[in-house]
């Protein structure tokens, strides 16, 4: 073994305690040299997260480490350590970023405390100093206004914000080894690049080693020197990143390259009938009032969605893109009547939504379905997959009893899951598997509008591709309307007919997908597109955009002004508030909320 190895894993095996013969991880050995970064890839359900959990000695109930397994951190044999020594190592020398941010945060402790608790646990800092360090760390992962953020609870954050809190927790103590399990799935490309850069910097400065678990071959290719490939719990390949990524990217099935290639296919707009929108919003705003303590009057208000007008017609797919925390999920939920609008309205099939009208909401529920961002947490933990899917079928009277139970298997097949998983509880699935169960559940209702909030964030390229094609086919063949939220612009381009770009709760650019994504006018949209990973090693020279500068909207004028890199930007941007204006002659066409974008000549 490498003398310099920071982490050495030998004969790691993990079994399910229920079915002793079921090996989740089967005799895996590898090492992680100090300062190196190694990618761990494999299909969803291959066992990647289980390796991470096993290394930390934190396998969930129901999984057990084989006694022959050896895990060595530096010179310490982790499997032989007592609880207290292990504790000292965790977080301090060995950290992990959990795959599902929502469940990994304590729901009843504000996040600032969760960070300082980690500092205090390792006696690194306490009291005021700990607060300072926690705030600083939150700022480093791109969270603004950290004082306020740190007083919030997990459920008051957006998906990407939560993920960054987890990252902050892992990076806080500058550990020797970081196991990052899909650490950037909920982050936009710019942020993703920024975070990964930071880890690279840690690697070079501190000799930190990184085990990066990801589906995103481009990211792995960009950031890792070596790649491990896991299949059904077995290590099937181990080699330099260039070779493996290149071969995988170019391989026919399940390749993201295919997705990319196909994504260029112009979206089919023939089905859409813009005159009768299925859903539309008018000046929709959702504000959250936040009080940190029990008897506090709302300390401040978050304008999560601000004056948004969007519309989706049958057969259309509206893609929503925007930075983490820009209000995408909130908009989606408000659209479905799951969030009370502060002002404005949502109209579904000609009727204005009223959240408190239970009769109306019940009638609409079947027609509007959601795949939530935290799909894993949306499954009732005590219910088996089969039960959950059968219920969805029964509730909407598509099938009952035995028929429903049978339909379950075809539903599972549609989302690429084996029928054998049907009798598992959600906790016994991998994240990607759970995500697909959530999608299957939404599809079971045969909705008219499907809202997918990051539906494929935890899926490998093959699963992702087959899912996307299935959704596209549904849209095409059955006129399914969709709202698609994703950070992966490739995915959006692949599926969306229209795109809305959100920034700080507002839509700042809107239009046909090809117009907006292929020819973005707004500087913000251009920025989003810039740092999409390529799959090739990156030169760290590329300086990522400075997020530490205040991003809060200025009191007047364009809220993007401080970060705007547009050459035409000037003082005038601060005097007037930009509204969406068409930049083409087509009245339903491309609109942009920028004062400096040139208008079409006739206007």
């Amino acid at each position: 073994m490498n003398a310099l190895s920071a982490l050495a894993i030998r004969n790691l095996s993990v079994r399910s305690t229920r079915e002793a013969e079921h090996h989740i991880i089967d005799d895996v050995s590898f090492t992680l040299a100090a300062g190196s970064s190694v990618g761990l890839v494999g299909r969803s359900g291959a066992g990647k997260s289980s390796i991470g959990n096993a290394v930390l000695g934190l396998l969930p109930r129901g999984l057990a480490l084989d006694p022959a397994s050896r895990i060595t951190l530096g010179s310490d044999e982790l499997t032989a350590l007592d609880a207290e020594s292990l504790r000292r190592i965790r977080g301090r020398r060995l950290a992990m970023v959990f795959q599902e941010p929502l469940t990994a945060l304590d729901p009843s402790m504000c996040i600032g405390q969760q960070l300082t608790a980690a500092l205090e646990a390792h006696e690194v800092a306490r009291g005021h100093e700990a607060d300072e360090r926690a705030d600083a760390m939150l700022a480093t992962v791109g969270l603004r206004d950290t004082r306020r953020i740190s007083r919030r609870f997990a459920h008051q954050l957006s998906g990407g914000q939560r993920q960054r809190v987890l990252l902050a927790l892992a990076l806080l103590l500058r550990p020797e080894v970081i196991i990052a399990d899909e650490p950037t799935t909920a982050l936009d490309a710019t942020l993703q690049a920024q975070i990964l850069d930071m880890m690279d910097a840690l690697r070079s400065e501190m000799g930190t080693s990184l085990l990066l678990i990801s589906h995103d071959l481009e990211v792995v290719g960009e950031r890792c020197e070596r790649v491990l490939v896991l299949e059904h719990g077995k290590l099937v390949d181990d080699g330099p990143a260039e070779r493996i990524i290149a071969s995988r990217l170019s391989r026919g099935s399940g390749s993201a390259a295919v997705a990319r290639a196909r994504a260029v296919r112009p979206s089919d707009e023939s089905l859409s009938d813009p005159s009768v929108p299925l859903v539309s919003t008018r000046a929709l705003s959702v504000h959250y009032r936040i009080a940190a303590r029990l008897f506090e009057r709302a300390a401040f208000t978050v304008h999560a969605v601000e004056q948004v007008d969007v519309r989706i017609a049958r057969g259309e797919c509206l893609g929503i893109v925007g930075e983490s925390g820009s209000g995408k999920s909130t908009l989606a939920r408000a659209l479905l009547g799951l969030e009370n609008p502060t002002s404005g309205s949502v109209t579904v099939l000609g009727r204005t939504l009223n959240v408190n009208d239970h009769v109306m909401m019940r009638a609409l529920r079947r027609r509007l379905q959601l795949v939530p961002q935290d799909a894993g947490a949306s499954l009732t933990p005590e219910r088996s997959v089969r039960w959950l899917l059968a219920e969805a079928l029964e509730v909407h009277a598509h099938a009952r009893g035995a028929a429903a139970l049978k339909r379950v298997e075809s539903l599972l097949a549609e989302v690429g899951l084996e029928a054998a998983l049907a009798d598992r509880l959600p906790a016994e699935l991998s994240s990607g598997q759970r995500q697909r169960v959530a999608i299957a559940r939404a599809l079971a209702a045969q909705p008219d509008l499907l809202v997918c909030d990051e539906p494929v964030s935890n899926l490998d390229a093959a699963a992702r591709e087959s899912l996307l094609s299935m959704l596209d086919a549904l849209r095409h063949d059955r006129g399914l309307a969709m709202l698609l939220i994703s950070h992966d612009l490739g995915v959006v381009r692949r599926l969306a007919t229209h795109v809305a770009v959100m920034y700080l709760g507002r839509v700042v650019e809107q239009g046909l997908a090809r117009d907006v994504l292929d020819d973005p006018r707004m500087p913000y949209t251009q920025l989003l597109r810039a740092s999409v990973p390529t799959g090739r090693p990156r030169t760290p020279a590329v300086v990522s955009e400075e997020r530490d500068v205040p991003r809060a909207a200025p009191a007047h004028g364009c809220s993007f002004y401080p970060r705007c890199a547009f050459p035409l930007k000037d003082e005038g941007c601060l005097s007037e508030h930009p509204v969406l204006r068409p930049v083409t002659l087509d009245p339903n066409g491309h609109t942009v909320a920028c004062l400096k974008v040139p208008l079409p000549p006739s206007l």
Binding site: L338, R366, Q369, L370, P372, T380, P381, E382, R383, D423
Partner: protein, 270 residues
């Protein structure tokens, strides 16, 4: 975990139930017969009377067997009433929210604030002695409030979780939502509440016979066997010890059985 057998607790509870059913066959003596109230009263356990005799010289062992019928029957029924009321009120309050919630919970507060004794006294005053089934209903009807508050609290907690919100968004109707997605999460709490109810009901039955509400003389119940000791817990220990053991054994095994059945249910839900 799942392979856990229903074993001992089922055996104990089954045994108690069986003993209750077969009491006439097993009991060595007529449970109400006075053998010799002057010479054989209040005898400590011996080979002739395994559990001793009471102040009327009745055989305690036989009374215990026959008393199981009344006590277990009343306890089970009372728990069923209290649980049903508690669950319905608690769940309705949490699910409907708003005005209904306020109404039901304040009613619960009122029921808590109204001393049980006063209510029971009214019952005595207006109806006189009650048949066992009604007695159970009265005990249950005055003991549901804590369960209601628990059910409401837990339902509200679960309503705020991702998975219940997701199920609601899916369009699962409210009652079904509660049964399918909230009840499983609530079940452990409910199981605890139910066994504690069961444990609390048996003594209540005993206390009630003070008011003339209990099982009527000369019929036996575990509670009134204890009362025959008239507080002499040390001197007439056999009158206290054996029924108490019976009560504890019944509660314990009911609880363990509930736990194990619950563990099974969690797996076999499909």
């Amino acid at each position: 975990m799942t392979g856990r057998k229903l074993g001992t607790p089922a055996l104990v509870l089954g045994g108690l139930g069986l003993a209750a059913l077969l009491a006439p066959l097993i009991a060595p003596h007529d449970p109400v017969a006075h053998l010799d109230p002057v010479l054989r009263a209040l005898q400590a356990p011996s080979s002739a009377h395994w559990f001793g005799t009471d102040p009327y010289s009745r055989d305690v062992f036989s009374r215990l067997l026959f008393g199981a019928r009344a006590s277990l029957g009343i306890a089970t029924l009372a728990v069923a009433v209290a649980l049903t009321l508690g669950v319905v009120v608690g769940a309705a309050a949490a699910l409907r929210g708003g005005f209904v919630d306020a109404l039901l919970m304040r009613f619960t507060d009122a029921a808590l604030g109204m001393p049980r004794l006063l209510l029971l006294l009214l019952v005595v005053a207006s109806t006189g002695p009650l048949p066992a089934a009604l007695l159970a209903a009265v005990i249950g009807g005055t003991g549901w409030m804590t369960t209601a508050r628990l059910v409401r609290q837990e339902t509200r907690r679960l309503l705020a979780t991702e998975h219940v919100r997701a199920a609601a968004a899916l369009g699962v109707p409210r009652i079904r939502l509660w049964r399918g997605h909230i009840l499983p999460g609530l079940l452990p709490t409910l199981a605890v509440a139910a066994t504690l109810l069961f444990a609390s009901v048996l003594p209540v039955e005993a206390a009630l016979s003070f008011l003339g509400l209990g099982v009527r003389a000369p019929d036996a119940s575990w509670g009134n066997i204890i009362l025959e000791a008239e507080g002499r817990v040390l001197r007439a220990w056999w009158l206290v010890l054996f029924p108490t053991i019976a009560i504890v054994a019944a509660t314990l095994s009911a609880n363990l059985l509930a736990e194990r059945v619950g563990a099974r249910y969690q797996r076999d839900d499909a």
